[in-house]
């Protein structure tokens, strides 16, 4: 389904569930490129930051010198979608990171890492999403949540936790982030939502 006319979307490929995002994007008609080096950012129409370990990705981003080019690209308006660890990387502020852990930023939120608990607390559930007719089946794995969101951040989905509401799908301009993993279910609607934003440029 990958056509010569589809947008070129990078998937950060330092570590994590890269192949699943590549498959989902390709199924939606995008061309994809694994990104591990600064030069591989050239010419991208959009970028996906996959799930994985945010501490590992932070370290490798800095080691290979991708952190500053990515910060600049996101600030300059490159459409980005981050899932789970990708959401952590996009958050302007982080709670429960390790000492010295940095993010790329771009999303005016405070994100809490491992917010739902350890692996035995990981779960899947149906989630109502603003703008979608049918719920999305969402898989949360040692997932973060949005603790606080700035005024320009749209909350597209949230879960109830101990009587409180925690945003788990948010959008601010060209930045989209989910605490869960649509790449694990074969439901490509969120990838299409992201690609619609890429097409609008």
């Amino acid at each position: 389904m990958t056509g010569p006319d589809g947008p070129l979307v990078g998937v950060l490929a330092l570590q994590g569930a890269v192949a699943e995002h590549v498959a989902a994007l390709a199924a939606c008609g995008a061309r994809t490129r694994a990104v591990r080096r600064p030069a591989e950012l050239a010419g991208l129409d959009g970028l996906v930051l996959p799930g994985g370990e945010s501490t590992t990705m932070d370290l490798l981003l800095r080691t290979v010198g991708l952190d500053e080019p990515l910060r600049t690209a996101i600030a300059d308006g490159l459409p980005v979608y981050g899932s789970c660890a990708g959401m952590i990387l996009l958050a302007d502020r982080l709670v429960d990171g390790v000492a010295g852990q940095r993010t790329l930023g771009g999303l005016d939120v405070t994100c809490r890492r491992n917010a739902f608990g350890r692996q035995v607390d990981s779960f899947e559930t149906d989630l109502d999403v603003v703008g979608l007719d049918e719920p999305v089946h969402a898989v949360f794995i040692r997932a973060p949540w949005v603790e606080e969101a700035g005024g320009d951040v749209e909350v597209l989905a949230a879960v109830e936790v101990d009587g409180g509401t925690r945003p788990v799908l948010v959008r601010q301009g060209r930045v989209l982030a989910s605490a869960f993993h649509p790449e694990l279910t074969g439901d490509h609607r969120l990838h299409r939502l992201f690609l619609d934003g890429v097409a609008r440029g």
Binding site: E53, S122, E124
Partner: protein, 299 residues
């Protein structure tokens, strides 16, 4: 396990999903909270808590068991990345204890002394996911049938000799390729020969891949070892004695992490392989008496 709100925990997808998130990463053996912190700071995607690293188990002998709960709690408290811990093959009570301590994955491991020489743990009934070792595809599928959510090649732990890990990765890969190539009516006999359930054999034949993540383990001691395993089809790497039994664990851990990500780039591997100090002292697998070969444990 379901709640009224339609939220499910401990499903197969959730158990296998954590392993998907570890792909392209390095999981490091640690025996203390201090080592766990070093591993996290070096870029490990998870740590494996055990009482002694395999090289020390070899050197000291005796029965090797699950780690002290105090030590596991200390490691869980020291890091924010997933914590795995080893239980003896067949020791379902050690596994229950590890689940109760809140570990994120249990490794039912041949590195520890088996507790049952006939049966592995019935893993499907646990809330916590399991990773198990395998030397070939049949063994991997038998573990999946028991409920494992991730597989690692066994290699030969505690040796620093990567040859068995190579054999196991190549064996699993070629057995998968063969299943994908043969006619469907030959899969029944293939299942018999592999000693594996037909349904799983047919699934592998249809998809051309294992239904779970496949890491490698056992004898990985250098960045080049890790990169070679990735090129042989591993989704990620376990490093046991190779880091903390080496001359400079901090540098070696970070180098193996980079070599795993850039496994196909010899320039990067050359760069990170410089100045690491002494690798762990190795033992040639061929020199090991058969009774001391850990890969033969489990079936």
């Amino acid at each position: 396990m379901s709640t009224d709100s339609g939220t499910d925990t401990s499903t197969s997808r959730v158990k296998r999903g954590l392993a998907e998130m570890l792909k392209g990463g390095v999981i490091m053996d640690v025996v203390t909270p201090e080592q766990a912190k070093i591993a996290e700071d070096a870029g490990a995607v998870a740590v494996m808590a055990l009482e002694r690293v395999p090289a020390d188990i070899r050197a000291q002998g005796g029965v090797a068991r699950m780690s002290d709960p105090d030590m596991i709690e200390g490691i869980i408290g020291a890091v924010s990345i997933p914590v795995m811990a080893k239980a003896r093959i067949g020791h379902f009570v050690e596994a229950r204890v590890l689940q109760s301590l809140g570990v994120d994955y249990i490794d039912e491991s041949e590195v520890l002394t088996p507790a049952d020489y006939a049966h592995h743990i019935d893993k499907a009934g646990f809330r916590v996911p399991f990773v198990c070792g395998a030397t070939d595809l049949g063994e991997a599928l038998r573990r999946l049938s028991e409920g494992a959510a991730m597989i690692r090649s066994k290699g030969e732990a505690g040796t620093g000799d990567v040859s068995n890990a190579t054999t196991h990765m190549r064996t699993i890969r070629s057995q998968i390729a063969r299943l994908a190539a043969i006619p469907a009516d030959e899969l029944h006999v293939a299942a018999k020969e592999l000693g594996a359930p037909y349904d799983l054999v047919a699934e592998v034949a249809r998809t051309g891949t294992l239904p779970v993540v496949l890491f490698t383990a056992g004898g990985i001691a250098t960045p080049a070892d890790a990169a070679m395993m990735m090129q042989l089809g591993a989704d990620g790497v376990f490093v046991g004695s190779g880091i903390f039994a080496s001359g400079d664990p901090v540098a070696r851990a970070a180098a193996i992490v980079q070599a795993t990500t850039f496994h196909d780039d010899p320039d990067v591997i050359a760069k990170v392989s410089r100045g690491l100090g002494a690798a762990m002292v190795g033992i040639n697998v061929d020199d090991l008496p058969v009774a001391h070969r850990l890969a033969d444990r489990g079936w």
